[in-house]
Every structure is written in structure tokens, then in C-alpha cells.
Amino acid sequence: MKEKLVLVGNGMAGVRTLEELLKIEPDLYDITVFGSEPHGNYNRILLSPVLAGEKNIGDIMLNDENWYQENNITLHTGKEVVEIDRRNRKVIARDGTTEKYDRLLLATGSNSIIIPIPGKDLQGVVTFRNISDVKAMLDISSEKKQALVIGGGLLGLEAAYALKQQGMFVTVVHLMDSLMERQLDPEASAMLKKTLENRGIQFLMETSTEALLGKHRVYGARFKGGLEIAADLVVMAVGIRPNIDLAKKANIYCDRGVVVNDTMQTYDGRIYAVGECVQHKDQVYGLVAPLFEQAKVCANHLAQLGFALYSGSLTFSKLKVTGVDLFSTGDFMGDDTTESIVMKDVDRGIYKKIVLKDNRIHGAVMFGDTVDGSWYYQMLRDRTDISGFRGQLLYGQSHLGDSGHGGVNTAADMEDDFEVCGCNGVCKKDIVNAVTSKGLFTLDDVRDHTKASSSCGSCTGLVEQILTFTLGGDYSEAPKAKPLCKCTDYTHAEVRQTIKKQRLMSIRSVMDYLEHRSPDGCHVCRPAINYYLMSSWPGEAADDPQSRFINERAHANIQKDGTYSVIPRVWGGLVTPDELRAIADAADKYNVSTVKITGGQRIGLYGLKKNELPEVWSDLNKKGMSSGYAYGKSLRTVKTCVGKEWCRFGTQDSTSMGVTLEKLTWGSWMPHKFKMAVSGCPRNCAEATIKDFGVVAVESGWELHIGGNGGVKVRPTELLCKVKTDQEVIEYCCAFVQLYREDAYYLERTAPWIERVGMVHVRKQLIEDDQNRKALSERFMNSQKFAQKDPWAERTGEDGFEKHEFIPLEVTISHG
């Protein structure tokens, strides 16, 4: 006999919990659902667009009755549960329907607050909470003209806008002196008010409603001070309150909401609660993202896994009245201890304010242009040091320099066929379709289903915008500290720390120690753990080839047709005629279809079959050439100009310096690829200021630049320091590489790493502390002792490494 699970409350939080549960344990429970409304589960955050006539009710259904049938769920619609009999473990609905439960899930949501004034029960006085409220408003708006909305908060303004769209004359009355005072500062609030006034909505500020007038049906309202206005429809939108009546009656401990622990259980362990009715660590949530996080945790516990814990959510507000964008998060008012950066462009209707404390974002409020809201939010949550790019902060993440989507950066401006994700060829309409037809809510959902934003990530902001644009309502994603992958809840930092602290030496021992959920990890965590082991224990931890991405396992780049490319090292871009001949001979001998000068001053041979690789390498090895690591998370090239040896402007010998640095650093495994360049003068022909480590010669010595990137997002380097001698260049270079290797997360390039930890931190480690710099440099040199072995030479000849990697199994098949 299966256990019985009963859900009370057929809304988004409860049904999402069931969906999460069915994903992990589809057959564990007999499930019954009670809903007081006569429908399946619908998307409550989209009620505003329905009221505005931009969507219809069919558009916002999330789970129709078929869904319940397909999943063998008994659904009682239109039945309100009025009693929980905990002793006999059953629930009883108003009509007498009774269901027994082994586990009970309460998701009773919240109720609108009704202000206790005369006339509150008149016909034509509604709240804004569910489909029947919306139907009632639409009925009245089709015949009558005057609407009054009580409450100038998020919900009230959405209702006001929607009713205006339906052709009514709308007045909003608000108790305070500014709209949405809990989500906006006075500046943004004033801009919002002006925008809404321009759209024809009237406001009565600092006004309290004394009575609603009428006998059976409302015809007007009277305010304190005696002013009266006509009203055929009154919407009370002054707030919501968790619906805890049922739980309270059953003596389940409640405060403002039903109090739950980190596994979403109430004081009765058999009874869970999720959603707006819940109070967790003194917080009550009304946004959808926290509810979904709770749903995940609750499902995990119901599925008897029990490892997920809810630790609360950080939220932000986003109002989406079509064409009116605003966003706020954190402490956006600021105080004596904070500073603010403000941009105000009245003509364009744009206002942005970022509140900073100790070089970190403390809060933000934006009006008119909210594209970067989620970026600020993420930095707030991650406590990112912004000192390195403070000057660009207000201009947002997608300022000039982004590639792959033609400079368009607002969802509203895009055509349906607009290619949003240039890596995977995903158009706007693909995302919109996936979101609506598959009921997606989060960025991760969209990534999984469409692949958009899952490669280089430069379109993440756009995809989030389309998500918000499509969902329309106040949906907002609340990202959390990211676990390394789906196999674990530990973050990159935690995994690396554990490896060091516990002296773990193998992937197996890391996974066992951290209680990995999958037997041997996945393609995301294994390469990362392998890297952390290699970089933490040079010479001690053994490399695991099966946890390397194919390019690093085969020491060649896989191409789209499954062939490989071979790129030998060309030290500092200097090449001899003999080497050129050897490359040409190899190209002839192996019938190479494409020979290309690469972007990093080398020569690539393309279109080689995998089993040919050891022979090609062997031929090149014989002429003194070795692997160029063009496939690796490691040093790629050191680009140079000819420098003072030839160039009349050259101030130092940049080519020799390039060769020196390349000889020092090749072969070292790093979190991601690493590029260097050395220019002989500030004309910078080697483009050193878009490299991970760039050296620019000046008359008095060398400038050292770090953290540049010429790829997805062009980012110039930042100046680390100026040094005089070649020896200093070498020491700083080695120390910087080692700091990057020890500090950055796997697959994090130097640019985002520096943006995360801050230039101040890097300077502290490399400049202000000579001892530390020397120690870093020594650690690097030590690890190089084990790393600098040419992988090509190791894999050629009779007893080369990993022979099975390159030779297919021989089979003679004889069948007729």
C-alpha cells in the first residue's frame, strides 16, 4: 500500500511541490489535491495581464485537469478544506468530502486584507487575488466607467493599469505620500507616479478612505476630510495576509504564517507547508521564486531524501506594467555609512541608483531601464567587490563590447526571429514558445530546454528579460550561491577548501567525503574536481584522463566533424625555416585539408583523424616542436611584436621577453585558458591590454597588465604595476598565474575572477606583500617541475601513454 499524500491548496507553490516530487519519486504516494477554486492550477502572477486584456485565462493555466489524470492525482476542485483531524489523520472539506493522509501538505496561500470600513461588503467591492476577482472586475468594467483602487502598492498599481486598459477612469488612493514606498525611493516613486499620470491614472495621495457608499451596490467613496468621488468598482489592494485559519484551527503552531523548519515541516512532522502561508525564520514571502525554492526542498523531504534544506531567500521587486519597468533590491535608501551612485535622465525617463558600502553593492533601485537588475542583484548576493569597474557600474553589464547579438539589448525591441543566443542559434520566439508551452519559470529551466545562454553566457541578461517579458507579471528569479553541479550542494570554493583541508587526493575520495549524489559525478564536476586536485597537490595527485574534456584527454582540439587539429608551440611567435618545413611536410604527408595561421601567432593543421595524431606529433617532435596546448585550460600563447631589435619605436626586447615567459609558464594547468602578450612600446601592437597577462614595454621598464579579455565581452586589462627589471616581470608573472590557479574557480577566466575578488585583493597579494608574492612564485615554479612534460612526446612511440585513446578496436566482421 502506498502512503497517502494530501495537498490542501491547488496553487502554484503546492502543485510545484508535487511536480518536483514526481520528478524524483513518481510512484511513492497516492496523491489527492483539494482546491477551493473551480479550476486547475494557474499562474497567479499573470492575473494582471488577464485583467488588462493582454492574455486570457486559458493562457495562464499551468496544470489542466489532464495533468492531474496523467499523474494519477485525485483532484477535488471547488472544495474548501475546513478541518484537519490530526488524531485520525484526515482532512474534511466543507461539503463533507473526507480524505485520510499519511503526509499532509498545506499550501493555503494568502488572503487579501479587507479594510474594516463601512460599505466593505457592498456589491462592486472586490479584492485582486484570483480568477473570480478578475472576472468580477471585467464584468463591471464592460458596463461601468468609474474605478477606485485603494492602495498604491505593487498589486494596486497593476490593477489600476489593467482597468485603465479596459477603458475605465481610474483613481488610486494611497495612504502614504509616495507610491510603492517599500520598494522605491522617493525619486523613483515620483517618476513612476508621473508616468502613470501621463497614462491617465489619477492619484489621491496621503488620503485615507472613510467609507464606501451605496445601498446594495457601491456608487462612491468618502475620504477623510469629506471629499467624495463616484465609483462603480472599488478594488481593495492594500496587502495580503497569510491564510492560516485552517492550520490554527488544527492547533498547528502559527505566528504571522504557519511556522516551518528548514525542511518545510510544521510543528506536526507529518504536516508540511509551503508558499505564501508559510513563515520561515520570521520571514513571509510573496514572490514566486522563494516559493519554488521551498517547493524543491519540500519535495526532497517528501521523497525521503532529506538532504535539501531551505535557508531563506533574498528577494527583490520588479513591477511589470507594460512599458513601465522598475526594479529594487536590498537597502536602496542608504544611510550615513553608505555612498550612492545616481544617474537620472528625465527626458528618457530613466533613473538608477546604486547604494554602495565598502565597495560592495548594498542596494539598488531603478526606473525605466531595468535590464541590469539581475546583475546588480547577483553582485549584492555574492558580495562582489566592484572597485575595479565602479565607473561602468551604472551603464550595466551589457555595455559596448558584447558580441553575438548585434547590440540589441531590450527584449521589447526584438523581432520574433531575433537571434538571442548566438552560440546555439536560439531565437526570441523559441524562448517565448518554450516558456509558455512548457511552463518554464527560471533561467535554468530555459537553459535546459532551449540551450539559450548555456554556452558563453553573454546573452544571459537578454534571456532573463525575455523570461520576465513573457511571464509578464512580477516574476523574478532569486539566484543562490551556485553549487558546483547538480551532483552536489557544495560550491566550488567549498569543494576546493575541503580538498586542501582534508588532504584529499582522488576524485573518488572527494566525492565520498562530500557525499556526492551520483555515483561518479558528471561532465561538470569531474573536470573541476580533477583540476582542484591537480592544482592543490602538484606531483602528488594523479591526473584522471577520463575526467578531462576530450581536447585535454586527446591533446588536440576536436572539430565539428569529429576530426582534430594539431597546433605546435611557436615560442613567442618566432619560427625557423626548418620548423616551417616540418609543418609543411606534415601537412603534405597527412593530407591536411586546412593549414591556418591562428590568432595566437601559430600555425594550425586541421582535419586530422584521431588515430593519426601520435604519428603527426612524432614527426613534429623530431624537428624539435612540442604541443602548443591550443586545446587546454592552460597557457595558450604569448603574442609578441618584434620590439626594439627591429622596430624603430621599440623600447625593450619584447620578443625575448615573450619567449622567456612562454618557456616559464607552458604546461601549467589552470582554471581556464590563459593568454599573454608582450608589446615593445605603448603602441601595443601585440594587443597586450586584452590579455590575461599583458606586458607593455616603456623606456624605463615594463608595465604589467592583468585581467583582459578579447572574447565574448571585450574587457581591457587593469594596470597591476610598473617594474624595472626582466627578473621582476618573471616573478610577478609567475605569482599572478599561481594566484589565479589557487583562487579562481574552474572555468573562470581571469576577467570574471578579478571582477569577483576585486583588484584590491589582487594588489594586496602581489604588490603590498613581497613575501607572499615570492611564495606564490615559488609555488608556481615547484608545480611546473611536474607539469612541464610534453604530452605529445609522452604519447608517441611503441610504449606511449594512453594508446587506447587513439586506436580504434579492430574487428573483422564476417556476416552475410
Binding site: N424, D448, H449, K451, S454, S455, S518, P519, D520, G521, C522, H523, R526, P527, P545, Q546, S547, F549, I550, A554, I558, K560, G562, H804, P808, L809, E810, V811, I813, H815
Partner: protein, 109 residues
């Protein structure tokens, strides 16, 4: 009629790795899991024809090296939410030797 063909020894495939077999103009990837189970899948990803044999093996799954599509090795189906299906070949292991059924290769539903 099932046409069983002997391929080689389990030990010739690295644990959590794969080898390719060329036969009949087809390339078949043989995978070995951590538990020494062997699976045979046509070496073409249903997404963009990537060589699955070159991917990272984890559990009973492989991740295509081209665009990270994850396939279940036992039935060739892409793991939700990815879509698509690669052809799988029945495999048996007897005394450490691997056999696959060439003719009865089939695309599951």
C-alpha cells in the same frame, strides 16, 4: 535472427571511457561504466552528429563533447530535458569478452 559478433575484451576499454569499432561503414562507440557494464551506441549524437565516444562517461550516461547533450547509454535516449535518440546495439559480456548484435540494432520508441 540475432547476429552476435565478438568485439574484444572488456579490459581493452578504460573504465569510464570508450573505444570505437568500425564495421559495415558504421562507427559504434563501446562504453564501459564504473561497474564494468558495457554499452554500444552508434557514434553519432542525435543533436549535431557529434562523436559520442569522445564524451565524458558518468553513471550510465555520456555527455556529448560537442554541445553537452546527455544521453542514457542503456536506451540511447537523451536525458530530459534534452531531446533525441541515438541507435543502440544489444551487448553481452561472456567471460570478459564483449559481443554485440549487429543486425538487430534498433532505434527505440
Amino acid at each position: 535472427m540475432v547476429d552476435w559478433i565478438e568485439i574484444g575484451s572488456v579490459n581493452e576499454i578504460p573504465s569510464l571511457g570508450s573505444r570505437v569499432v568500425h564495421a559495415n561503414g558504421e562507427e559504434v562507440a563501446l562504453f564501459r561504466t564504473a561497474n564494468d557494464e558495457i554499452f554500444a551506441v552508434r557514434d553519432r549524437c542525435p543533436h549535431k552528429e557529434g562523436p559520442l565516444s569522445q564524451g565524458i562517461v558518468h553513471g550510465k550516461r555520456v555527455t556529448c563533447p560537442m554541445h553537452n547533450l546527455v544521453l542514457d547509454l542503456s536506451d540511447g535516449k537523451a536525458v530530459h530535458p534534452d531531446e533525441g535518440c541515438a541507435m543502440v546495439y544489444p551487448v553481452k559480456v561472456e567471460e570478459g569478452r564483449i559481443w554485440i548484435a549487429w543486425q538487430s540494432a534498433a532505434i527505440p520508441e
